[in-house]
Structures are given as C-alpha cells and as structure tokens.
C-alpha cells in the first residue's frame, strides 16, 4: 500500500477528511485487506495511547517552588555592575555638561534678582532669602571644575554609550525578564 493511502487512512481515523476523501477511504478499506490491516494497527496504537497510565510523582514539587517564589531575589552581580555603569555614565555627562548648566543657572539667578528688585519686595522677603540661598549653594561650584575636553566625535560616542547604558539598565531592571 502506498504512502498516500496510508496517510488517507490516518486522517480517516482523525475524522478530518472531506466527504469525497472519506468515500475514497471507505472504498479502499472495502477493496484492500492490506488497508484494513493497516487501519487495525493504527486503531490499536490509538487505543494503546489512550490507555497509557500516568506515572506518579515521587515528591510534591509545589513546596520548593513556593519557597523560590516567596524568597526575595538577590540582585545579580551583573545588575550591580550595570547600575554602576549607569551612575558613571551620568556623572561623566554631568561633568561635561556642567559649564552649560552653570551658565544657565547664573543667567536665571540674575534674571530672578532683577525681577525681585523691580517688584520692590519687603526687607525680609522670601524672594531675597531665596536669592541669598541660591548664591550660597552655587558659588562654591563657580570655580573651575575640570572639563573632559573631548573632541566632538568622542563627545558623541560618550553620549551614545551613556544613553545605551541608561536604556538597557532601565529595561532590564524594571521588566519581568530582567532581575526577576
């Protein structure tokens, strides 16, 4: 018997044949002893699979699993290194951007001082206190902080690496596929 007929009988047992194919299979079974023998073997196999007993479990697997679920997951070493990389990248960026931030802060402080003067706030105004506080905080940093002095392409690479570290770190640390 050829493979086409065998496959036909296989699907006949599954009940997935069209009406035309089912009639073809039934004619084959009527005419061929080999087809009937093949079908009988398949039916025996189906029955054996249906009757296959379950093996028992030798231990309760739920206890160790629940213990694993309930215990806090320690932070893996690679995650700690990643956090360090993120912090380093952020620090390098901050150092490189500091001159720009400084100049922005100075300009905004001057603008605030002018605004307060123009509004003629009282002697012990909150505004004056804020300006004095801002000066006290910023002044120590106005003396030069060493800049990295990077070339444009190095600067671009640094930004790219810092951004990649930040995105990768957040994606891994705050998603289900990450530290958990």
């Amino acid at each position: 018997m050829n493979e086409y007929n065998e496959q036909l009988l296989n699907e006949y047992l599954d009940g997935t044949l069209s009406d035309v194919q089912r009639q073809e299979a039934e004619k084959l079974l009527h005419d061929s002893a080999a087809a009937r023998a093949f079908l009988a073997d398949l039916q025996f196999t189906f029955a054996a699979l249906d009757e296959l007993d379950e093996l028992p479990l030798m231990m309760d697997l739920s206890e160790p699993l629940l213990a694993q679920i309930e215990s806090p997951t320690p932070t893996p070493i690679w995650a700690r290194w990643l956090m360090l990389a993120q912090f380093t990248a952020a620090t390098l960026l901050m150092i490189q951007l500091w001159p720009t931030i400084q100049s922005w802060l100075m300009n905004s402080r001057m603008a605030t001082a002018v605004l307060i003067a123009e509004l003629s706030w009282p002697q012990f105004s909150l505004g004056r206190m804020l300006v004095e506080w801002e000066t006290a905080v910023i002044q120590p940093f106005q003396t030069g902080i060493p800049s990295l002095g990077l070339a444009t392409n190095q600067w671009s690479l640094l930004i790219l690496l810092a951004f990649a570290a930040w995105v990768a770190g957040n994606r891994l640390l705050f998603s289900d596929e990450g530290v958990k």
């Binding site: 054996a48 699979l49 379950e54 093996l55 479990l57 309760d60 739920s62 699993l65 309930e70």
Partner: protein, 191 residues
Amino acid sequence: MVEPTDSTLIRRTQQGDTAAFGLLMQRYQTAVFNTAYRLMGRRQDAEDATQEAFLRAYRALDRFDLKRPFAPWIKRIAVNVCLNWLDKAQNKTQMTATELQRPGDESPDMDQWVHHTPTPERLLEKQDQNARLRAGILSLSPKFRAVIELRHFQELNYEEMAALLKRPLSSVKSDLFRARKQLAQILKGVI
C-alpha cells in the same frame, strides 16, 4: 467542604495569595509531570521542566484569562519548556528501554491495577505494552514526540498544533502520520 475552583485559586493568586497557587499546582502537577516525562524521558528532567512550567505560569498569571481552562494552558507551557530544552540539548535525552526500567521509573503500584485488570496475564500484557509504548515514544525524534503529545494527550486539532508549534499544517499532518506509523510498528514488534 467544597474545593475551590481553578478560577478562585487563580484569582487569589493574582491578589498575592501564593498558598492558592500551591493548591493549584498540587492539583495539576502530576498531569504536567507526565506531559514532561513523555517528552523528556528522564524523571529528573521532567520534574525540573514541571517546576519551570509552573514558575512561568505564576509569572504570567496576571495576564491569564479566567474564562479559559487552566489545565490545557499549563500543559502547553510545559510542552514549550520541554521543546526548548530538547532543542538546546540536541537529542541528549534519547533513552533506551533498559534505561527506562531504572528504579524510580516503574509503573504505579500493583494494587492500583487489581481493580481494573481481571487477570494477572492481562496485567502483565498491559504493563509490557505500556513499557514498549513509553520506550517507543521516547525513541521518536522530539518533533514527533511533540505531535503525539499534543494530539493524543492534549487533544489539539491539526490547526491548533500547527499554531503552537509554529509550523505549516502540512508538516504537522505528515509528522503525526509518520510518528503514529512508527509507534504502530513498535507495538507490533516490527521495530
């Protein structure tokens, strides 16, 4: 006392009650273990796969649709776990019938058979047939084991099997036919 339904246990797990998940696991761990055992062939590997399947289920439970039955879902997770591990192991789990007869892998207690089998001869025949069938299933390639498992033990139709295995319908039909033919020959003693 009425036992809680699967939906109740799942809802309680979603609310943070891990003991409810423990009950759910105890309810289905044997069935999932047998699914894994038919695919992996070793008791230890099957136990590991069972735990991994339930761990993945626990993590995905917040997205589980309560209208669906839990048993088919967890079994499919187990099938995926086993197939992934088999892909990585690359046929390391092929076992001979002799290895299957190691202590700890025997059939259930004889007492369980007494109520269902009238004669000792029939009992021995059935045990022998089951042993040959298990050995036969494990002698199949992983993709043939998968289609036998999904069709005969999880009762998926061809389309569902093709979707789960991410393979064309014609390939799944062909694999199932060849797997059944091979098992039939093993049971007849031809192979």
